[in-house]
Amino acid sequence: MSSAYAIEVDTLTKTFGRLKAVDGLSFTAEYGRVVGFIGPNGAGKTTTMRALVGHIRPDTGRAHVAGRPYRELTDPLGTVGAVLEAGAMHPGRSGRNHLRILARQGGIPARRVEEVIDGVGLGRAADRRVGGYSLGMRQRLALAAALLGDPAILMLDEPANGLDPEGIRWLREFLRGLAAEGRSVLVSSHGLAELALMVDEAVVVAHGRLVVQQPLAELRRLVGGRTVRISVPEPDRLAALLAERGHRVLGCAGDTVTVGGDDARAVGRVAFDHDIGVDRLLVEEPSLEEAYFRLTAGKESIR
């Protein structure tokens, strides 16, 4: 590992015609962490990942992996594994041959092909033509290709696409395992709920710019922290009583009152003291999805 950071993006800008896909984006990713790369369609995630592996040339700024531009790496597949497009495979070729070709190009021993096939659970399907694969199987094959060189850095663009719930769970545990081995994983996804269970840190982008880069817990705190939700038969009355006693009532919808903070005992006590029956009482963390929407709504950059 020639750099403290696995991934360094510094004031990266890329324009396609009149469209500024990435606009002065900067962030880093450390080894041993899973970093979620989050943003809506057209936010510049894929363009950034492509710049990191040298598929596109930035107009300005730099995109380094392991401390240098991708094209200067002496062992690219052994340094970075990337899944930028799960469909990038010839439908007429078997999965095993797809991997064998990549191994040959990268100077990787053929036995490693068998290891990664087993590792991603492709098994006997490896000898079938890729054209007959489901999207989930293609994702697994693409992941196998990324792991071929046993890289310390992984970049995965929407790796959960097409995976069934079992596959998503497998992916989550797989990526966590890779990070536990000291690898850096940069993963973009639209499935924010899934990412929340997968990542240590989030890089939120919108309109090609950085919105925020924070550890997940810090991100949740940043967007408002925990809330207490209490479901009762008389929500309006309870909301008024809570407000009288200085609680920050955030909303009242249906039979549920939402209160800022995490003092569920105090909220429950107010209901009990006024003989209001409690159907449900729980403390909630803001979801990554909520955090994302709160951060990106009307605030293009808070960097």
Binding site: F16, T47, R50, V53, G54, H55, I56, R57, Y70, R71, E72, L73, P76, L77, V80, A82, L84, E85, G87, A88, M89, H90, G92, R93, S94, N97, R100, I101, L102, R104, Q105, G106, G107, A145
Partner: protein, 236 residues
């Protein structure tokens, strides 16, 4: 042979379409040759005259095949995987051209050998000049080299026109352009596809070394431009 060229050959080996072309094209070459050879209206005086049409078919199909497969790599974005394995693009693209030159050579050799074997007995029964053994060998080698050159040219077109259908259209369209240029400017003998025929004839209006040199120059020029363009193109 470099690891990259071996990988490119492996790509071709692991596709059914390659084997279909390898098996079918020599047969097509023989059928078109027999069609010309058995035509009572034709008054060919040399055995190589029989081969003209089949050689043209083989050359164009081989170039179109190369253009389609290389152009397809850009549409399917599999070329992105090549660039992940080897970020320096020029060796990657050069390996593709070399691999297709190799496939072209095999197809050229098979077609030329089959054509010679089939044409000889037909020619024996007619008033046709047979090649001496030296000329026959030289002709087979010349056709092999010329088809290899056209295949490399097709691969270069595939890099320049990164879409299989458009790349094939460009190869076929070039034939028409060549005919028009040949007619309008009288330079047909100096253009690539006609040069293949000239090489197969071991010379004509243009002497063999000049024809072969020109063909190499066309290939080098097209490959050079393809490498320059491919090296800088964004895979967005």
């Amino acid at each position: 042979m470099s690891a990259l060229t071996r990988a490119e050959l492996m790509k071709l080996r692991t596709l059914r379409s390659t084997w279909v072309v390898l098996l079918v094209l020599p047969v097509v070459a023989v059928v078109t040759l027999m069609d010309a050879a058995l035509d009572p209206v034709e008054h060919n005086t040399r055995i190589v005259d029989f081969m003209d049409v089949s050689l043209a078919v083989v050359s164009v199909v081989v170039a179109a095949f190369a253009a389609a497969l290389v152009g397809g790599e850009f549409v399917r974005r599999t070329v992105g995987l090549d660039y992940l394995a080897v970020p320096r693009r020029v060796p990657v693209l050069a390996a593709k051209v070399s691999a297709f030159a190799g496939v072209g050579a095999v197809l050229g050799l098979l077609s030329a050998l089959l054509a010679t074997v089939v044409a000889a007995p037909i020619a024996l029964g007619r008033d046709v000049v047979l090649d001496g053994p030296g000329d026959a060998v030289l002709r087979v080698l010349a056709v092999t080299a010329a088809v290899a050159a056209l295949s490399a040219l097709g691969a270069a077109v595939g890099v320049l026109v990164p879409h299989p259908a458009v790349a094939v259209g460009a190869v076929i369209g070039w034939q028409i352009v060549e005919m028009l240029l040949g007619t309008a400017l009288g330079i047909g003998d100096y253009l690539p596809i006609r040069l293949v025929t000239t090489v197969a004839h071991l010379g004509g209006t243009v002497p063999l070394p000049v024809a072969f040199g020109l063909l190499c120059l066309y290939v080098a020029g097209a490959v050079g431009v393809a490498l320059l363009v491919g090296r800088r193109r964004d895979l967005a």
